[in-house]
């Protein structure tokens, strides 16, 4: 039988519990290393997924050519988060899962005690090359999905047109 509790006691317990959870969440995020500026206000991705995506975009786009606006300046990963908000929830979940898989690929497929977002650039490139040229259609499909997202996030921004010498829309609206 459940012991009845008073309204005041219930509220007190709830508030204390919520406070503890908030503290634990903050500590947990710091310990995991997946911390982001809270002003970003992500709509779909978790901080972890966002950071993995940002790391992947830097390698997929490698926008360090002269005249190219940087991936971070365009806020590519944030732009992708906004795009994901327009997709069906099931698809959002699938793409978020893809980022989790990418993050843990070094451990799962290469038995390296590391994570994608913590690898150096050359090692990250090798992971992406593995996905791109995999004999498994699923992994190639994951690579193509990730690459397409990166292109939506970066080349959807007019600041990226300069590197292409693309004239852009004819009309001003």
């Amino acid at each position: 039988m459940v012991n009845p509790i008073s309204r005041r006691r219930f509220l007190r317990r709830s508030l204390v519990g919520a406070a503890l959870l908030a503290v634990a969440g903050t500590v947990g995020r710091h310990l995991s290393g997946y911390t982001i500026d809270e002003r970003l206000r992500l709509r779909v991705l978790s901080p972890k997924q966002y950071l993995v995506l940002a790391a992947a975009c830097r390698r997929l786009l490698a926008a360090d050519e002269p005249g190219a606006v940087s991936v971070d300046e365009v806020e590519t990963a944030l732009s992708i988060d906004r795009y994901l908000a327009e997709l069906p929830r099931e698809l959002q979940r699938e793409l978020a899962g893809l980022l989790e898989l990418l993050e843990h690929t070094p451990f799962l497929f290469q038995l390296r005690p590391s994570r994608f977002s913590r690898l150096d650039a050359a090692a990250q490139d090798r992971v992406l090359e593995d996905w791109e040229s995999s004999r498994l259609p699923f992994r190639r499909g994951c690579f193509q999905a990730l690459k397409s997202l990166a292109m939506v996030g970066y080349y959807g921004d007019p600041r990226a047109y300069a590197v292409l010498d693309y004239t852009g829309p004819m009309i001003q609206r």
């Binding site: 050519e65 099931e90 791109e132 994951c142 999905a145 292109m151 959807g156 010498d165 829309p169």
Partner: protein
């Protein structure tokens, strides 16, 4: 009258003679023709009512607005991106206006194999002609062929290959090159411009921003649909439409998914199977001179050297230009990182061709627990070989058309600079299959005289379910091997006649 589900504040019930689910080429034509025949018609559309002023030529915004699942729909293994239209007018909002009748060889095959005598070229001719007249179809003038399409013409000429100018349904075209992002200049002679006014003038009613959840059956007969108004969440009011006839016209993906969600009778386990995607692989070539492929009419020339439409033939590739704006172009180019960006710096000097496969591989549409369509599709060996030939043909055309080098769509030797290297691409497709894009799904509710072989009869009637019709590309028993819009408009016209006749009895 055009209404929006967003204005619904409470559940509503309506009644009419014919309710149509989807307003693309098939549904749009059915709506106009059935209304003109005197039927009380309601059409339900999931997307928005968009007009020329809504098309701002911003690629990112338009992709989100005009395509199912914001352009992110793909097969389950991610190997094929499957583009489908969304909005009043469906894919006729964003297509590139290609008008080509279903090939006579394909239609004769349907007649011989499935008893579809009403689909022989001679029987369909008057309907094709009427549709073409209604949509002001004409051949593109040679002086309006842009530089990307000129490359294809030059390549065909140099190699002595078959092909020529295509027909389109456009008037008042500014040749801006933004066709696939919706026409700012209202030059597309499509559903919204031509057929919706006709339908409204004859009393039809259109509801946009309503997603049909299921078809209503009573005593084995289709009697209406239940739709949900789309708003901030998925819990909007319902719109129930009771009707003497129900027509599915939400594309080969959407109509099959609706049939499965509704549990429509399928005694021979055919619904959703037989999916053909007509997928394409893009090949790019770099030139020494500017091409600026994003400007001008995107697709005005075809190469038919590699397609004969015969069942089982190894020649099953239709080739057309396929330039894209930055997002589409960057996603299509092979590779990533710094090398990818170095290629993109040549954007102005690049021409793109696509090898589109008249596929005999059959995929399947299913639905997940939420009712969302899932697409399974895998190329068979013969299709993979045909696609390899097509990719090699595109590379050869680009080189013959003056390209300095060609970029293959998969990780084969890069770049390709000679005809011999281009020909070798045909053998390099497996195991690294190239990423594919498809915009012409067909065949998931195929027609056949025999109910064991087809969901619908040759006039679009669902076998064994009075009052239920199919009026889109789902009906086609095979791929068409080319752009389907004229054939789908023609389906709408024929089904309108059938429904009007059936309801008058």
């Amino acid at each position: 009258m055009i209404r929006s589900g967003r204005t619904l504040t409470h559940d509503q019930q309506h009644s009419c003679d014919l309710v149509i689910v989807g307003t693309g080429a098939g549904g749009g034509m059915l709506m106009a023709e059935a209304a003109r025949a005197g039927l009380r018609v309601m059409a339900l559309e999931e997307g928005h009512h968009l007009q020329a002023r809504d098309f701002n030529q911003r690629e990112r915004e338009m992709i989100e607005l005009l395509f199912q699942e914001a352009g992110a729909r793909a097969t389950e293994d991610g190997s094929v991106t499957v583009l489908g239209g969304r909005g009043l007018g469906g894919s006729t909002l964003h297509n590139t206006n290609l008008c080509k009748r279903a090939p006579a060889v394909v239609l004769e095959h349907w007649a011989e194999a499935l008893g579809l005598d009403g689909w022989r070229p001679a029987a369909l001719g008057p309907d094709f002609a009427a549709v073409e007249e209604q949509l002001h179809v004409s051949t593109i003038e040679p002086e309006r062929v842009n530089a990307n399409n000129q490359v294809l013409l030059r390549g065909m000429q140099a190699l002595g290959w078959r092909g020529g100018l295509l027909q389109h349904n456009r008037r008042g075209c500014a040749a801006s090159g933004f066709c696939e992002l919706g026409c700012t200049f209202d030059a597309k002679e499509n559903v919204v411009k031509v057929l919706v006014p006709e339908a409204l003038a004859h009393g039809a009613e259109v509801w946009c921003e309503c997603r049909v959840e299921r078809v209503l059956l009573e005593q084995g007969r289709a009697v209406g649909v239940v739709a949900r108004a789309l708003g901030e969440d998925d819990r909007g009011p319902t719109l129930t439409v009771r009707a003497r006839a129900v027509a599915l016209a939400g594309s080969a993906i959407g109509s099959a998914a609706l049939a499965l969600r509704s549990g429509l009778p399928d005694p021979h386990d055919l619904v959703g199977k037989n999916l053909h995607l007509h997928p394409g692989a893009a090949v790019a070539g770099r030139f020494d001179v500017p091409i600026e492929g994003w400007m001008g009419i995107p697709q005005s020339v075809e190469c038919t050297e590699w397609i004969d439409y015969l069942p089982g033939s190894p020649r099953r590739i239709w080739i057309v230009p396929a330039f894209a704006h930055p997002i589409g172009f960057a996603a299509m180019l092979p590779g990533f990182g710094a090398a990818h960006m170095r290629q993109l710096r040549h954007y102005r000097q690049v021409a793109v061709l696509v090898a589109m496969l008249h596929d005999e591989s059959a995929g399947r549409v299913t639905v997940d627990r939420s009712g969302r369509a899932k697409i399974r599709y895998r190329l068979g060996d013969a299709d993979a070989r045909a696609l390899g030939d097509g990719i090699a043909a595109c590379a050869r055309l680009l080189l013959a058309g003056g390209a300095r080098e060609v970029w293959s769509p998969y990780g084969a030797k890069q770049p390709i600079r000679t005809d011999r290297e281009a020909q070798a691409l045909a053998r390099a497709v497996r195991p690294l299959a190239p990423p594919l894009t498809a915009a012409h799904p067909m065949g998931t509710l195929p027609m056949a005289v025999d109910p064991r072989r087809g969901v619908s009869d040759g006039e679009g009637r669902w076998h064994g379910v009075p009052g239920l019709y199919v009026a889109d590309g789902s009906l086609f028993p095979t791929s068409l091997g080319g752009p389907p819009q004229i054939s789908i408009y023609t389906v709408g016209r024929r089904v309108a006649r059938t429904v009007a006749g059936d309801l008058s009895r």
